[in-house]
């Protein structure tokens, strides 16, 4: 009970920081704007393609293009790249600023555990990120009104979930990096480099790859997104993301605790 209340108090405090400063607005603005731009390009590309398809129809024609496959899926994929940039923005401040301002001493001398602090901060960032995703998805709503055949909603939901899980992995890692320094710019840049490195691991996945490269590719966060974006919710992907997040939070908690021993 007290544990929950403590976590909730930290979440509320972090949201105050997010919305009391430009960070939340900048992140929301960048995210929704890019979502809109990508959606616009995917939309015009889709129109062009279906026009061509319609022309081919006269000669016996191809199949009808799926809105899910040609319009929504590429947008979600692109937004995963944007998450790579936005996650460090959300996490760089979380611990670095507490350390710089000395307020970490207030938290550390209050009857609240390190794990509760870490969880609260993670949930605050992941929650703001969820809000960003929901705001972005609003772009898609008109499709249901205007498309001649409505897209499936299930792949949209699982795709959005995948997007949230990927971003949350980034946030968990960013949170850990933020515990390492008292300079939030350093935390942000370091987080971004680390995330980029993890992102490239996914590129190791080729048909000719040996077992080692397969294992490396497995750690690439994007590869677990593919099935979910297609609407297939596989337990092993969800477990992968959740354990990734858990590992990041574990590192963060260990880091906060060990700094007290070394300090």
């Amino acid at each position: 009970m007290t544990a929950l209340r403590n976590v909730a108090a930290i979440v509320e405090k972090e949201w105050r920081h997010y919305f009391g400063s430009p960070i939340a607005y900048v992140a929301l603005f960048v995210w929704t704007m890019l979502f809109g731009i990508f959606f616009h390009f995917a939309f015009t590309y889709f129109l062009k393609q279906s026009m061509m398809m319609a022309q081919q129809m006269e000669f016996g024609g191809g199949p009808k293009l799926s809105i899910n496959e040609w319009m929504i899926r590429p947008v979600l994929h692109n937004m995963a790249v944007v998450a790579l940039f936005v996650a460090p923005m959300l996490t760089m401040r979380l611990f670095a600023e507490e350390k710089r301002q000395g307020t970490i001493e207030l938290l550390a001398t209050s009857p609240i555990t390190d794990l509760q602090i870490v969880l609260g901060k993670f949930l605050a960032a992941a929650g703001l990120y969820a809000l960003m995703i929901v705001t972005g998805l609003v772009n898609l709503v008109p499709i249901w009104y205007y498309a001649s055949s409505a897209p499936e909603w299930k792949p949209v939901l699982t795709g959005a979930l995948a997007l949230w899980l990927i971003g949350s992995c980034f946030i968990a890692l960013g949170l850990f990096v933020s515990t390492l320094t008292r300079n939030q710019i350093v935390a942000g840049i370091l987080t971004f480099c680390l995330l980029l490195g993890i992102w490239t691991l996914g590129w190791a996945d080729e048909p000719t790859a040996g077992p080692v490269m397969k294992a490396v590719a497995y750690l690439g966060v994007t590869n677990h997104m593919e099935d979910m974006v297609k609407g297939v919710l596989d337990l092993k992907d969800v477990v992968f993301y959740l354990s990734f997040i858990g590992f990041g939070l574990f590192l963060a908690q260990q880091s906060v605790e060990s700094q007290r021993w070394r300090a």
Binding site: E12, E105, A108, T109, P111, R260
Partner: protein
């Protein structure tokens, strides 16, 4: 209330706190005195469970800081040297957050926040962002944060640093008012503060306790009760001679006369009151006695003496002692 036993903290090779022990009784205000870098802050951080000790134990309100940190934290209010405040929150919001993480029950929260604001006189800035507050107000918000959950123990690390004289006096009054119901440890390097607010003083230097007593006792113990300062008009050497003859006098130090007035310092054995005899001796020589006054060593002198002498521990223990003039 607070028992510190053989507490040691090492950072790598340097030893910040070196086997200190002391006890603070319930309701007492203990002054923690020492030069910068003596280990005051480290000790306080161990008592508030911010740092783990390397060796030794510390118990606050019956709970070990290492074994049961949450229990200790629930009972301790703490202000670090720079009060930890979120610049972008207003005072009321900040205190409300603190009340939440300090486990104040929801029903009491408003009342507690209001009470703390009133006690620390920050009610008039309750809606002001902390980043815009003056140093004095920030210190008070820090204090309000520390007393929010009505802790049994208050640990204040240099609560008056950086304040103007008026604010210092106000803060001292506030701390005095908190004593009695709260047990307080207060660190400082400003000496008058200790004699004004604290019932007992622990002086530490280089991580070790060099003296522990009430401010008054420290003063007496160190100089010996019988140091007297006389002002005599007329023949100084003659007066000194007469004073030496008084039984119980152990040393007489005449200063060079200035304008016909000679200042003479007289030391007498501890426990003997020779003031009447001294006065008589001067008058019998046919000289004028202008002043006769008991001289205590000021806390500043004691402090300097203790923290600059290597044999500080020995001299503090053996009283009375020859004062270094």
């Amino acid at each position: 209330m607070i028992e510190v036993d053989n507490l040691t903290k090492r950072y790598g090779r340097t030893t910040a706190v070196d086997g200190i022990s002391f006890v603070v009784k319930k309701g007492e205000i203990l002054g923690f005195l020492g030069p910068n870098g003596a280990g005051k802050t480290t000790t306080m951080r161990i008592l508030t469970c911010y740092l783990p000790p390397t060796e030794g134990t510390a118990r606050v309100a019956g709970h070990d800081v290492f074994e049961e940190p949450l229990e200790v934290k629930r009972r301790v209010g703490y202000i670090p040297e720079t009060p930890p405040l979120y610049q972008d929150m207003d005072v009321a919001t900040f205190l409300d957050f603190c009340a939440k993480i300090k486990g104040v029950a929801k029903a009491d929260r408003r009342a507690r926040v209001d009470a703390a604001m009133e006690k620390c006189r920050v009610g008039d800035v309750r809606k002001t962002l902390i980043g815009r507050l003056s140093k004095g107000y920030r210190q008070r918000v820090g204090l309000a944060q520390a007393i929010l959950h009505d802790p049994e123990v208050l640990i204040l690390d240099e609560p008056t640093s950086g304040l103007d004289p008026k604010q210092i006096i106000e803060t001292r009054e506030l701390i005095k008012g908190l004593g009695g119901e709260h047990t307080i440890i207060l660190s400082t390097h400003i000496l008058p503060e200790v004699s004004m607010t604290c019932g007992r003083v622990v002086i530490i230097n280089k991580g070790k306790v060099v003296a522990e007593d009430t401010p008054d006792n420290l003063t007496h113990r160190l100089r010996g009760a019988g140091t007297l300062r006389l002002e005599v008009r007329g023949d100084g050497p003659a007066a000194a001679e007469g004073l030496r003859a008084v039984p119980g006098v152990t040393a007489v130090r005449p200063h060079p006369p200035a304008g016909g007035v000679t200042v003479i310092e007289v030391e007498a054995a501890a426990g003997s009151d020779v003031r009447a005899e001294l006065a008589r001796a001067v008058v019998q020589k046919g000289l004028d006695l202008l002043a006769l006054q008991q001289v205590g060593m000021s806390l500043e002198e004691i402090f300097l003496h203790l923290t600059t002498t290597d044999a500080a521990v020995d001299t503090a223990a053996s009283a009375p002692m020859e004062a270094t003039a």
